[in-house]
Symmetry: C2
Subunit: 492 residues, 2 copies
């Protein structure tokens, strides 16, 4: 495999596509729009899952599992939700194949095994879950229900890209049920802030928190909270959403509860999710022209040790030392790979681990053994230094923390620098053309204005960040009184 | 919810169905044959997953993810595999729904969104994975590949039962690729023994390891290794399988590698899996007429603390003590639930936690505070004792280990007692009618004999346990020279 990567400045999109494959993260499959997540990519996703799962459980959520398939009559019960997803649904119509009489080596769909009612592969699970909650909820004592599910979902997208937009993707979807509107709103806000915290603390990715405009809202939601990140090419990426669903699904599925006074009311709902799309966000937040750059907290291995030797005797003494270093690091909770393969040269390995974004590389050669040193190379800034072996463990610990912080600071600076305010629509367009990034401005609150700006510039409202401090402010496009301060950007 | 459970001796099957629902493990969904796994049931499955995942990784396996859908032409490539699963496949034929012109609130399948090629929801993933491995494997340097995937699969079974046989189920499927036949066989055997170890060490469930007869083999395998457990009603349950696939899939998908000498050969394969069926096995190994009995190593919480009080003052002092005990136990790595709900009485809670199989229950009342004691109740033998609080932590630690061992010993004794040898076919039938359990006997190796015994008695060969020590032995049915010693049983 050639390790040459298109430069970001030449073609960012091509750079991304190549990186995902060359860093061994994922590849396209034989099924249109569906990806294979390779072991190295999946290991990163597993780390994300583990940390998110801990955060969900720490806030009182439990995991469960609901069916993959949704009967059509349930799917269509909540009208807006159904309308929103109907045009991208994979539909199961038959439950059997049979041998083709014309060619015994082939199979055909058995027309006699047609389902009475079609089944939709879940694009999201509100319908199947709320039809189930109906049987679980009678009184306020049964509330709240706070359930999360890790699952695959399917949306038949026409234009797909690895991690960013795939027909099948992996995600978690939380579905909660509450006795009061306030409690449900609090939950939706809490989960959005947990997503923001996860992005910051683990992905080293700064995000803006806000709410969506009506036209960008989840189909069936009253309010969609979101976290928005800014990629290196100046385009925004919606990294997670949390929805206050009001009583829409409770009404669609007739889910009522008796309150303490015995009065019946519909249940209040939220749902919230992040997906393997976060992998794309992670890649485009930190990586460079040499390949992937990973924050240490999500790296499958944080340190790789590469031995440098010319003969077996050297190899043996270096291996002893490397194994010792490996186990000392592991005792400190640091994950380490020792690459002792003799099928590849050190230089090849250096390039490989740069491509894969391993945060720290330790090189040990015969001279290092003599001098009691190792070479330590940082992936984030590509700096190298020679470290006395006696100080190695401490240095690695400190450096990993430093890399994690450095990546966040760099991304945060980038976002700050690329968030521009304007009151002037010509300036708005100039910024989009020359710089990209977030544009902070005022909006009159109408879908018409939003639509016109979108058609004119391809930029959309990523989120509403303030509806209070708007006295005297005017819409950047229409000059009408402002409804809110918003962030516009072109987006993934 | 009524806590009354049908007795095992009255109707074992009914007892099982009721227990699964009343212990809050799972329930049937709106989709035929598909279940909802409820939080308490899912927490047990998560514990199983975590332990298995550790064992897989410790033996050099990595996780990855492959697509849910399999194009029909890939599905049919390995003939036997395709033939085996074709009759129970859910088939996706369309990718869009549209509004029904006759009724705007309804959706219909959009005939214009018919797929050119049908997609099968994976009943197992050999086809999609080997069509992918083809691109990953060129030389011996690319081998072995040792990948596992945690996923949902779908087999359109006609008669379903919660956990034991469902149309959709959750499982893990390992798929490995090797340069030599010996290495692949070694892998298949290793994974079967890991399943046996997991069953013993975590599920407290003894199993027999063996290989399947040809008629019970996985479709597309050369050899199927399995673990077989014995349920309380004397029926066997196949708890896990590991397949040596020979070169069948490599040939079907043209996957070749160059060996060290540069010669091309087809790759050797294995696959292996366990599923949510293990939940059924766990339930039917240990539970009793009061409900679920869980081995401490898989219990979502190992200890539940129930306060007993008559007024708020009592409640407050007991809460203080209970919280202290809880955190002391948690410091020892023991998982604890403190049920301080005031909506339910202690007696109700006792019944509830018996039904849910919590290994240890601690009751604390006002008298306990005076005497510095607690009441400790074991779920496995329903014994109760008063323990001095100073000895509580140590006693809980020891008792949890004792419960884990006791459950295994009990199940092991049951299996030993219910494994009977015979050379006589009339006796064989008598054992099946009167006792059930495993029958150890000799078999002539023909499918005819196997088929005749099955038609006659409903018992099948669960596994072949010995093909060596058979000199002079004769088939229990045909009197012909023995091919192997086998275990027969009626099975789930």
């Amino acid at each position: 495999m050639s390790k040459h990567l298109t430069k970001r400045s030449d073609n960012y999109s091509k750079w991304y596509n190549e990186l995902v494959v060359k860093a061994d993260l994922a590849e396209n499959s034989a099924v249109r729009g569906c990806m294979v997540i390779k072991p190295y990519g999946f290991a990163i996703w597993e780390k994300m899952q583990q940390e998110l799962d801990k955060m969900f459980k720490a806030t009182g959520h439990e995991n469960a599992y609901f069916p993959l398939l949704v009967p059509k009559h349930l799917f269509e019960a909540e009208e807006k939700n159904a309308e929103g997803f109907a045009k991208e649904c994979a539909v199961v119509t038959h439950y059997r194949l049979k041998t083709d009489d014309k060619d015994k080596a082939k199979l055909i769909v058995d027309p006699e095994a047609k389902l009475e009612e079609e089944l939709v592969i879940r694009p999201t699970s509100e319908a199947i879950i709320w039809s189930t909650y109906k049987n679980w909820i009678q009184s306020y004592r049964d509330l709240p229900i706070k359930i999360n599910q890790w699952a695959n979902v399917m949306r038949w997208e026409m234009r797909t890209r690895l991690f960013l937009r795939t027909a099948e993707f992996l995600w978690q979807e939380g579905h909660t049920a509450h006795a009061t509107k306030d409690e449900a709103i609090e939950e939706a806000e809490l989960m959005n802030s947990i997503y923001a915290k996860f992005a910051k603390d683990f992905m080293a990715m700064p995000v803006v928190q806000g709410v969506k405009s009506e036209s960008e809202r989840f189909a069936g939601a009253e309010e969609t909270y979101c976290i928005e990140a800014l990629m290196q090419d100046g385009k925004a990426l919606q990294a997670g959403t949390s929805h206050f669903l009001g009583q829409n699904f409770a009404k669609a599925f007739d889910v009522k509860f008796a309150n303490k006074q015995g009065k019946l009311d519909h249940v209040w709902a939220t749902s919230w999710g992040v997906s393997t799309r976060l992998m794309g966000a992670l890649i485009m937040s930190h990586s460079d022209d040499n390949g992937l750059v990973l924050p240490p907290k999500l790296a499958p291995y944080q340190v790789v040790i590469v031995p440098i030797y010319r003969n077996e005797q050297q190899y043996n003494s270096i291996c002893d030392k490397a194994s010792q270093i490996k186990s000392e690091l592991e005792n400190e909770g640091i994950s380490v790979k020792f690459d002792d393969r003799d099928t590849q040269k050190p230089g090849w390995k250096f390039t490989e681990y740069e491509m894969k974004g391993v945060p720290l590389r330790i090189g040990i050669g015969p001279k290092d053994l003599e001098k009691n040193t190792v070479e330590l190379a940082r992936r984030d800034d590509l700096s190298k230094s020679f470290i006395n072996q006696d100080e190695l463990i401490e240095t690695v610990k400190i450096t990993l923390k430093d890399i994690q912080n450095n990546l966040y600071d760099k991304a945060k600076n980038f976002m700050t620098k690329n968030t521009r305010s304007t009151d002037d629509y010509n300036n708005f367009k100039e910024i989009l053309n020359n710089n990209g990034g977030f544009i902070s401005c005022y909006w009159d609150g109408t879908s018409e204005t939003e639509e016109k700006i979108k058609n004119d510039t391809k930029a959309t409202i990523r989120c509403i960040i303030d509806t209070e401090d708007i006295a005297g402010k005017k819409c950047v496009y229409s000059d009408k009184p402002a409804f809110a301060k918003v962030l516009f950007a072109k987006a993934y």
